[in-house]
């Protein structure tokens, strides 16, 4: 068992390069006719949101994988992806709010996608909270897997309900939650670069987190095998009557 998390260098290089490219493109891309420089938040906000949804999809698949194979590796993947998904979702929401305030004059709007994103945030916060309350790895894996699947399966229903709800209560036309239509090619490249950079970050974080979980489980396994500290009376020689004393 390795004594430390191996510090490979390729993730840092990849992150560095992809972030540098994305940042550069974001900076040199033209300002929007309406929003001005505020549009640049989109190059971080949109990739964060896409990766968040991807992360939760990975959690769904890996939860199913665990329930089918009972291999803890799937559970580690599911848990790592869910945690990263929660961070990305929080980031996307926060950036969206920062963008919305000067643009629309409000911190929040009840458009369907934003509302759904906020709901998903809470579903997976609940997932992480559930994992935290269960100590035994196998029990935890099973319960989390069930929630990971039930939560994800209910999401389409939640999505439909929120979309229908919003179509009945149309937001003011000045608010365009879809954001600006992207015409400029450099803007498209900047967005793509942002998605790639975030994907690299997601992958690197996944690698590290899965390794961290694996080491945690290995420690847990090793502790189980060690001699338990002896406690008082249980050491006393058994004082049984005559009569067979065998296993």
């Amino acid at each position: 068992m390795p004594s430390e998390i191996p510090n490979r260098s390729w993730p840092w290089v990849a992150i560095g390069v992809s972030v540098a490219v994305a940042l550069t493109l974001a900076m040199i891309s033209p300002a929007d006719a309406v929003q001005g420089d505020l549009v640049r938040i989109m190059y971080v906000h949109v990739p964060a949101a896409w990766l968040a949804y991807l992360a939760f999809a990975v959690t769904l698949v890996c939860s199913a994988g665990y329930l089918f194979t009972k291999n803890l590796r799937w559970d580690r993947l599911a848990a790592s992806s869910a945690a990263i998904g929660v961070y990305f979702t929080g980031l996307a929401i926060a950036l969206g709010m920062i963008w919305a305030r000067p643009t629309w004059g409000v911190w929040w709007t009840w458009d369907a996608r934003l509302t759904l994103t906020a709901i998903m945030f809470f579903v997976y916060v609940g997932y992480l909270a559930l994992r935290r309350t269960t100590a035994d790895p196998r029990t935890r894996a099973g319960r989390a897997a069930v929630l990971g699947i039930v939560g994800a399966v209910q999401i389409p229903l939640v999505h439909f309900s929120v979309v229908w709800w919003r179509t009945l209560h149309q937001p003011a036309s000045i608010l365009r939650p879809d954001g600006p239509a992207i015409q400029d090619p450099i803007m498209r490249w900047a967005l793509l670069a942002g998605v790639i950079a975030f994907s690299v970050i997601y992958t690197s974080l996944m690698v590290k987190r899965v390794e961290l979980h694996r080491l945690n489980d290995a420690i847990h396994l090793a502790e189980r095998g060690e001699a338990r500290p002896v406690a008082g009376a249980s050491v006393a020689a058994p004082n049984l009557d005559e009569g067979a004393r065998d296993v």
Binding site: A135, R228, G232, A233, P238, L240, G243, R245
Partner: protein
């Protein structure tokens, strides 16, 4: 039809979080055997009983109970043949003793006229309409024994079977255990009362530090 081996456990291990409770437990119990299980508090006796009852899935090892693999789906099929009375009563406190037994009979598919018979046998017929939650610990245990009398079990697991019971009730318990053994089943009695248990058991095992000696 009971096989010759009622319980077969090999290298069973159970943990709670990172604390090992059972470690490398081997146990073999054949039809007709009554086994006494001793050990200090916290040694893991109740956990071992729950594993044998197929209610707790072990982390390690392999084993069969009444022919069903502890790790397979067959374990659900044999549960109705296993009776267990723990030291915490498993009755619903809002229901009366009679209602509790009628519920058990209903779920187990037994005619409910056996309820009165069984309560009579344990001397509780007069308390049939008494709320379980308002009954003493000893009465609740006797009601659980009545339940086990009613249902034909092939394996009986008893945690502190003689506690809070008078001599008549103790003989009743021994009689029940003996009857199951005579029919080819088996019983495991967990207790601190070595004298009473060794009087009725064929052999004894000791749980020390998570393993059987």
């Amino acid at each position: 039809m009971i096989a010759a081996t009622v319980i077969e456990l090999r290298d069973i291990g159970v943990t709670a979080g990172s604390t090992p409770i059972l470690r490398g437990v081997d146990l073999s119990v054949g039809g007709g055997e009554i086994v006494g299980l001793f050990g200090a508090n916290g040694a893991g006796k109740t956990t071992l009983l729950r594993v044998i009852a197929t209610l707790l899935r072990p982390a390690d090892g392999r084993g069969t109970v009444l022919g069903a693999d502890l790790f397979g789906d067959e374990r659900y099929e044999v549960r109705h043949r296993i009776g267990m009375i723990g030291h915490i009563p498993g009755l619903y406190p809002e229901l009366t003793l009679g209602e509790n037994l009628r519920f058990a009979a209903r779920v187990a598919g037994i005619p409910s006229d056996q309820v009165e018979e069984s309560l009579q046998a344990v001397g509780l017929l007069g308390a049939i309409d008494r709320q379980a939650g308002a009954s003493s610990h000893g009465m609740q245990r006797r009601a659980e024994f009545a339940r086990e009398l009613m249902i034909e079990r092939d394996l009986l697991l008893l945690d502190e079977p003689h506690a809070a019971l008078d001599q008549d009730a103790v003989e009743l318990v021994n009689g029940l255990v003996g009857k199951i053994a005579a029919n080819g089943g088996a019983a495991i009695l967990v207790s601190h009362d070595r004298d009473r248990v060794t009087a009725v058991a064929d052999r004894s095992v000791e749980l020390v530090d998570g393993s059987l000696r």
